[in-house]
């Protein structure tokens, strides 16, 4: 058993403490960071904080109530009153305000007002002025009614069993399983790619012959798969650490991040669906490594595994619109398509327990089968140089 761990440790060290891996590992969170930065930049550009002027001919804002508080990440805009359009215009031209509204005397009946601006008036300052106007229009109404009218409705969609709900603040939780599934799939193919590459290299540089006179094929393959899973989990752990850090930092300024919660069902799906899928993909990648004679050929064959895994992503619209259709149900049970399908369905519908159980059972059987297959491919293909092992041969001798 100790040799299995030594193989695993070697596999792990060889790939994780490697510039190529570290670059790949940190490039994803860095990319996310850049994306978040871009989002903030767009918000900042949308959020012109220069004051807005108004010329109130209707008397609604004669003695105005303060505007309602703004939601993060928007920043509050000040409102200045001007006695007439000429004064407002000169303030606008002097750059003291970004725009001014003219509220006509018949505004209460006509509902029409005019806004004057030199540059495009962004959504945030416009909506803030509208909220300011609304608050003052409703100043005489029952505060509860006024509040409802200003905030509008906040619909929470809840499943009949009460296990899931979606509201304006918790929408990100709905997407979390799908994101988790995709992160796992990316990690499993990155780590699996390393594993395949390592096995091919061990064949190419003839290390294999030395290795198999030191450890059994079973120990060797088990060590490789454990190492591979550890590499993938390291990748996920680092990404999670970045995401968690991002959430902690961003909670104060981005409202939807406050509602993020990892449900027990998501954890269950990770354990019973994604983890066996990881083992299965790792074993299949090792099997490819053992059967091919050079790395390039192996990379071409990897497509045979990665394509079915990504099929649910290509059928995203079908899964969103009909998450319980027969095709989607089939994809939920088929070993390679199940990980993404199940996780994406978890975002869209309530997964019956039996479907999770059946899918998990198939995934676990698939993982065991793939390890067996990899073991056979390895035994038959490990010393096959310059000639590819045919899949028929693997099964023929079984």
């Amino acid at each position: 058993m100790i040799k299995t761990w030594r193989v695993a440790l070697h596999e792990y060290r060889q790939h994780v403490f490697n510039k190529r891996f570290l670059l790949g590992l940190f490039s994803v969170p860095l990319l996310l960071l850049v994306m978040v930065g871009l989002i903030f930049l767009i918000f900042a550009m949308e959020n012109n904080q220069a004051p807005i002027g108004y010329v109130d001919l209707s008397g609604i804002l004669a003695d105005p109530l303060p505007p309602p508080p703004v939601e993060n990440p928007d920043r509050p805009v000040e409102f200045f009153a001007y006695p007439d359009e000429a004064a407002a215009m000169s303030a606008l031209e002097a750059g003291e305000i970004q725009a001014f509204y003219v509220i006509p005397a018949d505004y209460r009946t006509s509902g029409a007002l005019r806004v004057v601006h030199l540059q495009d008036l962004k959504y945030s300052p416009r909506s803030q002025f509208e909220a300011f106007l609304s608050v003052n229009l409703l100043r005489d109404a029952d505060p509860a009614v006024a509040n409802r009218l200003i905030e509008a409705s906040d619909v929470t969609v809840r499943s009949p069993d009460g296990s899931r709900e979606m509201s304006s603040t918790g929408w990100f939780n709905m997407l979390l399983p799908a994101f988790a599934g995709m992160a796992f799939v990316i990690a499993m193919f990155t780590a699996g790619g390393y594993l395949m590459q390592a096995v091919v290299e061990e064949k190419e540089n003839r290390t294999m012959e030395v290795l198999i006179t030191s450890v059994s094929p079973g120990q060797f393959m088990a060590g490789k798969i454990i190492g591979d899973i550890a590499i993938g989990l390291t990748q996920i752990a680092v990404w999670l650490a970045f995401i968690a850090g991002g959430i902690l930092i961003g909670r104060g300024s981005i409202d939807f991040l406050q509602g993020i919660q990892i449900s027990p069902q998501l954890v269950l799906l990770v354990v019973v669906i994604l983890f066996p899928a990881f083992v299965m993909v790792a074993a299949l990648m090792a099997a490819i490594g053992a059967t091919v004679s050079e790395a390039r050929e192996g990379q071409q064959m990897t497509g045979l595994i990665s394509l079915p895994v990504w099929i649910p992503f290509m059928l995203l619209m079908l899964i969103v619109e009909s998450p319980n259709s027969p095709v989607v149900l089939f994809l939920s049970f088929f070993p390679l398509t199940a990980p993404l399908t199940i996780l994406m369905r978890q975002s869209m519908t309530i997964l019956p327990a039996w479907q999770i159980a059946v899918s998990a059972g198939i995934q676990i059987l698939g993982a065991v089968g793939a390890v067996w297959l990899a073991g056979r491919a390895f035994r038959l293909g490990m010393l096959r140089y310059g000639k590819r092992l045919r899949w028929k041969e693997i099964f023929a001798r079984a």
Partner: protein
């Protein structure tokens, strides 16, 4: 008990019979030569010996019985095609391969240090294996094979890529290991080295054992009834001598089929010649190898 005993093993790949009814035994503590031309079946025989391949028929006993996982730690194998991790430092490579033979990382380090010094690799320990010269990699492979102090050492072409100084180093090492009681199987094309080092040999060709036995006995079997003589004076007209051939400062006396070396010696003494050298001319292993491979003799 023999260190290795192969009994009537046969191994076929598709239409090709790579090993055909091969039997031989390697005694404990001997330096045994496994010879044969390219494609003769030597590597397949070794792989059967090491349980990498299961023979189609016949039995293999290694270190007293069938191969087990535990026995792998008692065997050192250096394949003909070298196998070291190219992209990691030499030290780490040796440490890892040693750990797969049951050594702790600390023990592996303790053991490879003196070898690195002896093979002039100490200052290259931190270099990636691919940065080492072919000869250095060859020496590193030898170290990796010996780290766990195996009871049985199988080395396939250990001298390829080595300069004369390093060849001598490896020769001395193999002799030293034999003296320490290690069983060494030497697979090589360099016949003069096999001749110099081995006690017994087996020669395989087309998957079959062509020659097997003690080196002296094999050479005697292939002697062509000739004498090597270095003597001052006229050697013509000696009884039983059919022809005389000068060979490197000596003369080779080719004897008639039933002539005895003893009667030639008596004739030389009778002529009162000063005899500096008188020996039965035995063929060297190169010559035997070529003769066997060309089908001029050789039986198991």
């Amino acid at each position: 008990m023999a260190a290795v005993e192969l009994t009537h093993i046969t191994k076929t790949f598709g239409e090709v019979r790579a090993v055909d009814d091969v039997s031989f035994a390697i005694e404990q503590g001997e330096l045994f030569g496994l010879l044969g031309p390219n494609g003769a079946g030597k590597t397949t025989t070794i792989r059967c010996m090491l349980d990498i391949f299961k023979p189609d028929s016949g039995t293999v006993a290694i270190l007293g019985g069938p191969m087990t996982e535990a026995k792998k730690d008692r065997i050192g194998y250096m394949p003909e095609e070298r196998g070291l991790y190219q992209d990691i430092p030499l030290e780490r490579c040796l440490g890892y391969l040693g750990s797969l033979k049951g050594l702790s990382p600390a023990e592996a380090r303790r053991r490879y240090e003196p070898y690195l010094e002896r093979f002039d690799l100490a200052e290259h320990r931190g270099k990636k294996v691919k940065e080492l010269s072919k000869g250095m990699q060859q020496k590193a492979q030898i170290i990796a094979t010996l780290l766990h102090q195996p009871e049985l050492l199988i080395v396939d072409e250990p001298f390829s890529g080595l300069d004369p100084v390093n060849t001598q180093l490896v020769k001395d090492l193999l002799r030293e290991l034999r003296q320490q009681g290690m069983t060494v199987v030497l697979c090589s094309h360099q016949m003069h080295l096999v001749e110099e080092l081995c006690d017994r040999i087996v020669l395989i060709d087309h998957g079959e054992v062509m020659l097997y036995g003690a080196l002296d006995e094999v050479r005697r079997r292939f002697s062509a009834n000739a004498l090597l003589v270095r003597a001052a004076g006229d050697l013509s007209g000696l009884p039983g001598v059919e022809s005389i051939e000068p060979v490197n400062g000596t003369v080779k006396l080719h004897l008639a089929p039933k002539a005895e070396p003893q009667s030639v010696l008596k004739a030389l003494v009778a002529r009162n010649l000063i005899v500096e050298q008188f020996e039965v001319a035995l063929p060297d292993l190169d010559e035997i190898f070529i003769r066997v491979v060309r089908g001029e003799g050789g039986t198991a």
